[in-house]
Symmetry: C2
Subunit: 281 residues, 2 copies
């Protein structure tokens, strides 16, 4: 597995592969890899001739009070996992190379970036859309892989990729969970054993609500109450039912609905969601 | 000369050329071509194996009260000029293909987009940066050519291209002028003969100020007064002396200075500028 630090080297490598007729799969990450990331890499390695994974903790998606400095950095473990999953090359640029002096350019996906996580993290999706644009321009992939745990991020990236004419196929894969239901996250490392037990209320609430929807419940109010009751012991950021594409609130379950929740548990801000598509009769 | 309407077809054509080892020069235009555009095409055809010119009147850089509908559309003449200048392919997409329903993504270059033209046209540079990103993603050029008449646009595109890691070389060529000094512009077609004569005050003022700077004048106040006096008969939007890279106002001429002016003459909003680099002693 090759490790590439320079932008120009990465672009030249990718262009050479594309010109050789190799399809390129791309898995952008901030490192601290877990089984969620591994599942994306595995899928990419299966569906593409070569796979590039990026490891870059992106400063522009963190607000000053957030955990940019504390975010786990485990580069050597990450490389081992990536290599095991069949990744061909790691792109790990330096911060100063991606954000030089006088950096001024931001990509914003309006309307999708303001709700849910965007309310407590107002610059987050702008930072994500910007860095993914930069990575797409350097890695030049045919396909890029994202995890559905970050459902709003998926909606933002889908829209941005279409709107900016990237010609890249966005592939979204299911959230990977611990055996007890906790959604895998790099931030789970922040949890004490007690907090980890408390955090289970999030997935438990979502699963209960999912059963309700499968049983025919369509009222957002009733569904949200189920999750809220289950998560009552946590410091809730939001619990919302929205359209999975537009991220606009739903009063009734319809189309492809996204039931999403976020809460602070100890030092960790955790998010989780389930998506439910109403069967067409 | 090939005319390409589809995004995917354009990208496939360009990728094929890049993979065949051909360098691609790119001249983005809104059509209504004049000798300024022709000079960009000529330079590109000389410096690159193939040249793509785009013709697309971009709606997102016009405010509702501006001249999007009136903007001259002269596609057949444009194609003839482009072919004469050695253009290999015209990319002329449909509006609905670049801006489909639910379009939501914008590229913004902060700090450079707000002064000069940005004050009276607050969404203009966002529209320009967005469409150029889209065109770059489709045309995949090695080099892109812009005219220095749009000096602030050049600064925005330079910064954006660097910031978003496009790996494209931006080449800026001198303003092309009519024999009497008027900067060439597609909007000169809006002028009556009387207005055209009045419009000469802009370039006349700039040339006088340029002579002053060459003679050693360094005070912005004095230089701006020269231009203001000459343009006194016009409906002035702005006359400013700024740093050519940061677009921040200068009190004294230093480094690479941009002296820029805009005025409404009849139905046309005209811009012009000169750039002056202080000789290092």
């Amino acid at each position: 597995m090759k490790i590439i630090r320079g932008k120009s080297e990465m672009r030249a490598w990718s262009l050479e592969r594309r010109c050789a007729g190799d399809s390129i799969g791309f898995v952008p990450t901030m490192g601290a890899l877990h089984e969620g990331h591994a599942s994306l890499m595995r899928a990419s390695a299966k569906e593409n001739r070569v796979t590039v994974a990026s490891i870059f903790v992106n400063p522009t998606q963190f607000a000053p009070h957030e955990d940019f400095n504390a975010y786990p950095r485990t580069f050597e473990d990450d490389c081992r996992i990536a290599e095991d999953m069949g990744v061909t090359a790691i792109y790990a640029p330096e911060k100063v190379s991606l954000y030089p002096d006088g950096y001024a350019t931001y990509v914003n996906v309006e309307g999708l970036s303001e709700g849910l996580c965007g309310r407590s993290r107002p610059i987050f999706f702008r930072g994500v859309a910007t860095v993914v644009t930069k990575l797409f321009n350097t890695v030049l992939p045919d396909r890029a892989y994202f995890g559905m745990k970050d459902a709003q991020q998926c909606a933002v990236i889908r829209r941005m990729t279409r709107d900016l004419d990237f010609g890249i196929e966005i592939i979204e894969l299911p959230t990977v969970r611990e055996p007890d239901g906790l959604a895998m996250s790099s931030r789970n490392r922040y949890l004490t054993p007690e907090e980890r037990a408390q955090a289970l209320a999030i997935s438990r609430g979502l699963f209960k609500a999912e059963s309700q929807m499968k049983a025919g419940e369509r009222s957002a109010e009733s569904i949200l109450k189920t999750v809220r009751d289950e998560m009552a012991g946590l410091n809730i950021d939001y619990i919302e039912l929205v359209d999975a594409d537009t991220i606009q609130p739903l009063e009734r379950v319809e189309g492809r609905a996204l039931l999403a929740a976020a809460a602070w548990v100890g030092k960790a801000r955790l998010i989780d969601n389930i998506q439910y598509e109403v069967p067409t009769s």
